[in-house]
């Protein structure tokens, strides 16, 4: 794990669509838009104190993606000693796109998919910026 690694960690929000949107956006970036240039890992590994995951977090530049104001991703990264270089909040994106009203949690509806796409684009731009700072 290089210190240049970009690690995108979404929250695990499961009660409302916002967590699903953050998670979906993260996968769009690491598996499609910036494949091979950014990684993700399970937030729950940090919660249970996994040593390897903690080392990875500490050795990476982290992007936290949070669904709700409780900001579990940011807080857990910080508790693990990680360095947060960017923080995205789905709630902020919702405020900027008031016409979009996601309702489905398990499988995103059309508005949820659109928000995930928009968020993924923003995260991808941030990945490009961070790469430029190497």
């Amino acid at each position: 794990m290089s210190e240049d690694t970009i690690l995108i960690i979404p929250c695990s929000g499961i009660g409302k669509p916002f967590g699903t949107i953050g998670r979906d956006a993260t996968f769009r970036v690491v598996d499609e838009l910036r494949r091979g240039r950014a990684e993700t890992n399970c937030l729950s590994l940090l919660v249970m104190g996994d040593e390897e995951a903690t080392r990875q977090i500490r050795g990476s530049r982290c992007i936290a993606v949070d669904g709700c104001p409780l900001e579990c991703a940011r807080k857990n990264i910080e508790i693990a000693g990680g360095r947060i270089t960017a923080h995205f909040r789905v709630m902020d994106l919702l405020r900027e796109n008031r016409g979009l009203r996601p309702r489905q949690v398990t499988f995103l509806d059309e508005d949820g998919e659109r928000l995930a796409e928009l968020l993924a684009q923003e995260i991808a731009v941030k990945v490009d910026e961070l790469e430029g700072q190497r």
């Binding site: 998670r23 993700t40 399970c42 807080k75 857990n76």
Partner: protein, 137 residues
């Protein structure tokens, strides 16, 4: 009036692989459909990021952990911060037993993979039913 205690169902976050996605979707299927109104959930990272209210979860609700892989993050985190789990469902083990392949994508499941997630959800619902039986709900 008799109050029916709810059962907790907590999924691992499972961002590292498609099995985590199955775990999460199966959990939602239990909450929304198979055991709607009888189950509750919590976001796993809240055990660390939240307050004492979140940490009371497993003590207040008999809890089933739904795990994407053998690392058993949900079980370990619940037991570290909140209380004993009532049951653990290992999705990787279930799929191996059924001869089902893990999902190819962690973002979008195919129709066949959604059927597999439903089978997992039914197993979780069965475990919930057994716990309810033990509680004489």
């Amino acid at each position: 009036m008799r109050i029916r205690p709810k059962i907790g169902v907590v999924s691992c976050s499972g961002e590292c692989c498609g099995l985590g996605t199955v775990s999460r979707i199966a959990t939602r299927m239990v909450l929304e459909d198979l055991k709607a109104g009888e189950t509750v959930t919590i976001c796993l990272p809240l055990f660390l990021a939240g307050d004492s209210g979140e940490r009371r979860f497993a003590r207040e609700f008999p809890t089933v952990a739904v795990e994407g892989c053998s690392k058993l993050c949900a079980t370990k985190a619940i037991e570290k911060y909140s209380g004993r789990t009532a049951a653990t469902m290992d999705v990787e083990e279930l799929l191996e037993g059924w001869g089902a392949d893990p999902p190819r994508s962690r973002r979008v499941l195919t129709a066949e993979e959604i059927v597999t997630a439903r089978r997992v959800a039914e197993e979780v619902a069965r475990a919930v039913g057994e716990i309810q039986g033990d509680l004489h709900v």
